[in-house]
Amino acid sequence: MISYEEALQTFEPVIGLEVHVELGTVSKMFCGCATEFGAEPNSQVCPTCLGLPGSLPVLNGAAVESAMRIGLALGCSIAEWCRFARKNYFYPDMPKNFQTSQYDEPIAYEGAVDVEVDAGTVTVGIERAHMEEDTGKSLHVGGATGRIHGASHSLVDYNRAGIPLIEIVTKPVTGADARAPEVARAYVGQLRELLLALGVSDVRMEQGSLRCDANVSLRPRGSDVLGTRTETKNVNSLRSIERAVRHEICRQAEVLLAGERVVQETRHWHEDTGVTTSGREKSDAEDYRYFPEPDLVPVAPSREWVDRLRATLPEPPHARRARLQQAWEFSDLEMRDVVGAGALELVDKTIEAGAAPQAARKWWLTELARRARADGVELVELPITPGQVAELQALVDAGRVNDKLARQVLEGVLAGEGSPEQVVAARGLEVVSDDGALGAAVDRAIASNPDVAAKIRDGKVAAAGALIGAVMKELRGQADAGRVRELVLQRLG
């Protein structure tokens, strides 16, 4: 395939993002069934979410409030009056064979967010945010890989059916140019941060509570007509959003440069191979026959209601970042790295829990970032809390563990061995701070290295390192190297 740079020489990419967020309500969108992840199959269902004959929906008020708060946080207008619609199509994981959704009357519309990328800020327009319900989940049986193709039959679990979803649709993002993949990633990352701050969703991409479809089209440089777009589904991490958009730009460029046409279709992203493959073609046969949902009454939020929700919004991300950067005394570069790594919330909570800002930043952007990369997960998905990181740093600050031991403690916490204190106790990782024991080890080191000791006595202080190393080795690293140095120089100074 042609390179990204080649693709961009001829074409300008236009992207659009559709993000589905599962709300964190305790009950479903239209019934009182629980929404807990991972329950026994078909144990969180009722006549309504199973679509049994005769059942009816009743709208979850908390879901409506979440939808409005999301809309407000995205700078959207809130509809004064809007309805649900039925989107009619047959699919076995959809209990009623229509999805109760919003069509031409979304609860929130016309907003914008500023997205920070390395080279500055890009404004992404928000077309709409609307409410809908999730579908059930199918397990494909009899195929080689558990995938849909080649399966002999499928097993459907409707626990997920009816879980509230908010679909957030951007306007076409033009002008991002070569940064389009980066903008796509940064937008979703920032959106996730916003949703976390709003407290409306746990936004765990790996559990599917935030799902992203990326629309990509190319147009010849200088043209202002939008090209044919594809919609790439199944993009389930921030990293894959960037990769998938980049891949799709290259693929489409190759198609166009070969004189062929891009097919308007759904494509599937394959994380393992890093390519998209053709899904179903979008055609006129796909006629959803939308019409207003007669079983739900219109939603008409009063001015007072909207104002009340507006007052509950967290500080806008931009203002918050500026405030925190100043409070933490981070450089622009440090701050951007924190934001770019999706670590702002984590660092903030770590500092709140008592860690110094630089220490908190260091943990999340070095040790933990390395670990997340190695595991192919997001920072927030690591099995460690900001409170635990702060606790670990407190151990360092108190001199109870040194840097090397601290890393071992971190390993223990990530391995699920408990809090830093518990790991220290269980693994016996605390530094030897008893001067008597340390002194004895120093004396033994001096005795076994008389020539080194002589050099130090002669004023060659740099030679102390050899003695310190010997002490640390004897104590298996569980000593404060600074204190050992002090004791060596005391005795030989």
């Binding site: 006549p47 049994l52 004959p53 005769g54 009743v58 006629d287 019409f291 007669p294």
Partner: protein, 510 residues
């Protein structure tokens, strides 16, 4: 006092039976048993029931008798048995909506109205026959065979709730539940000489009613007297938090209105557009007599015009199929009901099985309406069909609003004709649709309506119906007019109209 015979029990009104139960003249077990015996005797000829739950009904009756003996505080209708249209979900009892697609389906839950009926201690005799998914005006579109009109077994009992109406008319039940989307309670009531009420949209919970057209459907009472209808209406009505469209206000005082039975000073509006051409002379004659009686009782009769009613049928046959095409999409062989594998295709996909099942499971009328609805909603046609129909709906609501400034209730014959012969209109859908011409406007506007017997048409000796409509949430007015007219007519006839119904085959055999 001589003890009540089974025939006495089954011919008395529900309110009289309720009084007899309270007085201890009869037990619920005896009354329920009498009705079950009557069903066993005549339902072979009438076929009003799709399922009879003798054990369940007798168990409820025994429980009510036990509680009554223990001095418990019981609902006024406790122990009075009733029949439920098969479109209403009943936990533990088959619920098929007259369709092959749901043959043998036993819901794991109760409709709200059934929960209220059970809580009040009314034994459920069984489930009544109906046009498939309530699509029809004759009960001939049931997958389980038609119901026969007790007045003439060769004729239709009306529809879609022909089973409920025939059960009540044939004394197989004192009370029944019906549902009315375009006249399915009122038109069978008219055709069988019984009383039927469609309450205000939202007045009775729809939770558990297998939906035909969600914005039109409404459940209501099917009875032999106006007071019985009011008693059942009061029991099943009222707010339900499981139905978003349920009205959050108390049910109008319908029982008090039925007792009051007074129309002095009431303005009764005759709708010019409902009653002219196409109405059978005998139907018209009985209607005019009823008007004269009401005038004699002190009502003021005025003529009102509802110019957009002539578009009601067209709007209805766009809105109903559209909503139905979506509501009936869930019958797809995946989660419940019939599953048909296409012949010679062992490797069939889910889609193939859906296609084959729905082809085998739906009858002709359902297919017609689903395809019509699919068409009316499809892109490119939505505005002309579904969108325009929704506008007509607005115009019809405005007509009502205007008419109700001149009249407290509006009246018309319920149906243009008396019962026609089985099979007569089966393959002429448009002719069939005309049966609902006078009942449909109320559903489009959500206003309540009643049908009660106005007498027998001279030309065929079959029952005709008198319809009254009231503004939304003023259902009590229907009962004032209905109870008044009922009493005046009974005086004139020397008893209820049903006294003149022919003796049924089963009775002769019994």
């Amino acid at each position: 006092m001589t003890p009540l015979s089974p025939a006495d029990v089954t011919t008395m009104s529900a309110s009289a039976l309720a009084d007899a139960l309270v007085a201890g003249d009869v037990s619920s077990a005896e009354a329920t048993g009498a009705y079950l015996d009557r069903i066993a005797a005549v339902d072979g000829a009438v076929h009003a029931f799709l399922h009879v739950d003798a054990d369940g009904a007798l168990a409820t009756a025994a429980e009510v008798d036990r509680r009554r003996a223990a001095g418990a505080d019981l609902h006024p209708l406790a122990g009075v048995p009733l029949a439920v249209k098969d479109v209403v979900a009943t936990q533990g009892l088959p619920t098929t909506a007259g369709s092959r697609l749901l043959q043998g389906w036993v819901p794991p839950y109760d409709a709200t109205i059934v929960a209220r009926i059970r809580a009040a201690g009314l034994p459920v005799l069984g489930k009544t026959n109906m046009d498939e998914f309530a699509m029809g005006s004759s009960t001939e579109h049931s997958a389980y065979g038609p119901t026969h009109n007790p007045w003439d077994l060769d004729r239709i009992p009306g529809g879609s709730g022909g089973g409920s109406a025939a059960a009540v008319a044939a004394f197989e039940a004192p009370l029944a539940i019906g549902t009315d989307t375009g006249g399915s309670i009122r038109q069978p009531a008219a055709i069988t000489g019984t009383v039927g009420v469609k309450p205000t949209y939202g007045g009775v919970s729809r939770y558990g009613l297998i939906a035909l057209a969600s914005s039109l459907d409404q459940a209501g009472p099917v009875t032999r007297t106006v007071l019985d209808a009011a008693l059942l209406h009061e029991l099943i009505g009222g707010h339900d938090r499981l139905d978003s469209t349920s009205i959050n206000a108390p049910t109008p005082a319908v029982v008090a209105a039925a007792h009051r039975a007074d129309v002095a000073g009431m303005r009764i509006g005759v709708v010019r557009e409902l009653g002219g051409e196409g109405y059978q002379p005998g139907v018209r004659a009985r209607f005019d007599e009823a008007l004269a009686l009401l005038t004699g009782a002190g009502a003021e009769v005025v003529e009102v015009s509802c110019p957009h009613f002539e578009y009601a049928l067209a709007a209805y046959y766009l809105i109903l199929p559209s909503e139905a095409s979506s509501n009936l999409a869930r019958f797809d062989a995946m989660r419940y009901g019939l599953r048909v594998w296409p012949e010679g295709k062992p490797e069939a996909s889910a889609e193939d099985v859906m296609l084959a099942t729905r082809a085998a499971g739906f009858g002709d009328e359902a297919k017609r309406r689903i395809i019509l609805g699919t068409y009316a909603l499809s892109s490119g046609y939505y505005d002309a069909y579904y969108g325009s129909a929704q506008k007509v709906r607005t115009l019809i609501a405005r007509d009502f609003e205007q008419a109700f400034t001149h009249a407290d209730v509006l009246v018309s014959p319920t149906a243009p004709t008396t019962a026609f012969r089985l099979g007569e209109k089966l393959d002429d859908p448009l002719a069939m649709y005309l049966n609902d011409i006078a009942t449909i406007p109320a559903n489009l506007a959500g206003v309540p309506g009643i049908s009660l017997p106005s007498g027998l048409a001279d030309e065929d000796g079959l029952p005709a119906g008198f319809q009254a409509l009231a503004p939304a949430t003023h259902d009590d007015r229907l009962y004032r007019v209905g109870a008044t007219l009922e009493a005046l007519l009974a005086d004139r006839w020397g008893g209820p109209l049903l006294d003149r119904a022919p003796v049924l085959t089963g009775e002769v055999l019994a």
